[in-house]
């Protein structure tokens, strides 16, 4: 039998970020504190990208730094804050400056819009959002949602436009070089994001062998067929968490929320934590081995 070469989709953070042009539309993975593409957000800032539009259910520190650095000022989104710690400080300030444009949806609405894109159908029906200002008040889209009479039941039903973004970006625990991805813990909307995007980028804590993937096909959440680039990047979601690998850095988040309440504080944070390090390795060095070790998850608990 002829042996198939295992396609190698590995690439560095710097290189993959170069492939994202100004103005790109990105379906953004991670949910709340879990597996957000933090290192990617920081590299978008270092490379001075502009005009990005993000589609997501909800993200937190990762998107707030993009807003602070004015990399991304357009969002189709359901939630934006630093859960339990308060409003996202840069977002709050840039909003007051009138710089940020939101198209507001609910979490399920965003997840269904990704699902519709993954199925390659133009819309998905939903029984939510109807009756609220989210239906009418709009800033970015011509067609935010449509209410039709259901041809089967006669009832009103809301249709949401599907999303097929230029890029889908997620963080996960493991993948092989061909992009077969294992996700442990909640999946959020990441499965749908990788399936609806024109190109998908996956950041993983660890590259494993194709052989290991094939030993456990039930654990493959995202087949390599959907994945264009794989980046091995330990602590790629810091200061947030990755189930089973490391916990969030609560002290850093609290510091961030406090510091960035003013523009000066944000500029200082930006200079020190993002622009002041050459790359992700530089960031990890700055955080320090001691702190990273403290954040390492206890395998028994997953955090």
């Amino acid at each position: 039998m002829t042996e198939a070469a295992i396609e190698d989709k590995r690439i560095t953070l710097e290189e993959v970020t170069k492939k994202v042009p100004d103005g790109a539309h990105i379906a953004w993975g991670g949910f709340g504190y879990q597996r957000p593409p933090e290192a990617f957000a920081m590299e978008l800032i270092r490379q001075k990208k502009r005009g990005i539009r993000v589609y997501t259910c909800g993200s937190e520190h990762d998107l707030d730094i993009l807003v602070g650095a004015e990399v991304c000022l357009e969002f189709e989104v359901a939630f934006f804050a630093i859960e339990a710690l308060g409003l996202a400080p840069n977002l709050r300030r840039r909003s007051q400056e009138g710089k940020v444009k939101f198209e507001d949806y609910s979490n399920l609405a965003m997840a269904l819009r990704f699902l519709g894109g993954a199925l390659n159908v133009p819309f998905m029906p939903i029984r939510h959002m109807i009756g609220t200002d989210m239906m009418e008040k709009t800033r970015l889209r011509k067609d935010k949602a449509k209410v039709i009479d259901c041809p089967f039941t006669g009832m009103s039903i809301t249709l949401l436009p599907s999303i097929q973004a230029d890029f889908g970006v997620i963080c996960a625990q493991k993948a092989d070089q061909a992009g077969n991805v294992q996700i442990f813990g909640i999946k959020g909307e990441d499965n749908e994001i990788t399936r609806c995007a024109k190109k998908s980028i996956v950041f993983v804590e660890e590259i494993i062998s194709n052989e290991e993937i094939r030993q456990h096909p039930d654990m493959t959440m995202i087949p390599g067929l959907y994945v264009d680039y794989v980046v091995e990047l330990p602590f790629g979601s810091w200061p947030m968490q990755v189930f089973g690998i490391y916990d969030y850095d609560l002290a850093h988040l609290q510091y961030y929320v406090q510091e960035c309440k003013t523009e000066e504080g944000w500029q200082k944070y930006l200079d020190e934590w993002i622009l002041g390090v050459e790359n992700h390795e530089g960031l990890l060095k700055k955080i320090g081995e001691k702190r990273l070790k403290e954040l390492r998850a206890d395998p028994k608990y997953g955090y």
Binding site: E83, F102, G131, G244
Partner: protein, 259 residues
Amino acid sequence: MEMTEYSSTEMMAVCGAHAVKDGERVFAGTGLPVLGAMLAKVTHAPNAIIIYEGGYVDTQNKDLALSVADSRLGYRAAASIGLIETLGFLMMGGRVDVGFLGAAQIDEYGNINTSYIGEFEKPKVRLPGSGGGNDIASSAGRIILMFTHDARKFVKKLDYLTSPGHLSGPGSREKLGLIGKGPALVVTDKCQMDFNPDTKRIRLKSVHPGVTPEWVKENVMFDLIIPNDIPTTAEPTAQELETLRTLDPQGIYLGKGQK
């Protein structure tokens, strides 16, 4: 029963817990609702099933979570899936009995704003937005609202309607095909309110110890219905407080020494 000192935040958490019945399927957001749901489960409602929108189903976490996606919720969950599962199949599927929500503003029908303060065109503050709030408010069997009392939160007209309460009154949810029955209870640090079953308008249900109905009436910006004989909310028992503090030993949601 021996009385113990307690904070107003603890009072809210205990009121939230009391609103959960045994065996119910509970959808909890971060913050006080988590504590309320967890307290219910370890006291009078051991068979309550708690669901978090990130994908955790039937949780038995040992540590308190900061995020609805927190890894802490994954420890010993019965399943760990995704949003289409929790907010789609479970919530929109009509399989959730009770959902907890917060609010920046509510109106007389329990409609909720969590999106903008000020005009939409030029808002003063951008709030977190719907998140799963609209989904929960639309489809959970009933809704329990929890937030600290501030007159500016009880408005005649919302700056933005994020999540449906009883909309414009009786029949309006049904007309839009919403599955859930809407808000049933509002818990603040001063009182509890419920809704008149006929008019769907909010009314005072009980005042916490030391609060008068008059104070409440003055601290809402619409004409609150105040029935006769408003009872005083039962105080938390010593055991409830002890259990509650065990659930949040660091005072993340309960605060430290705060009254």
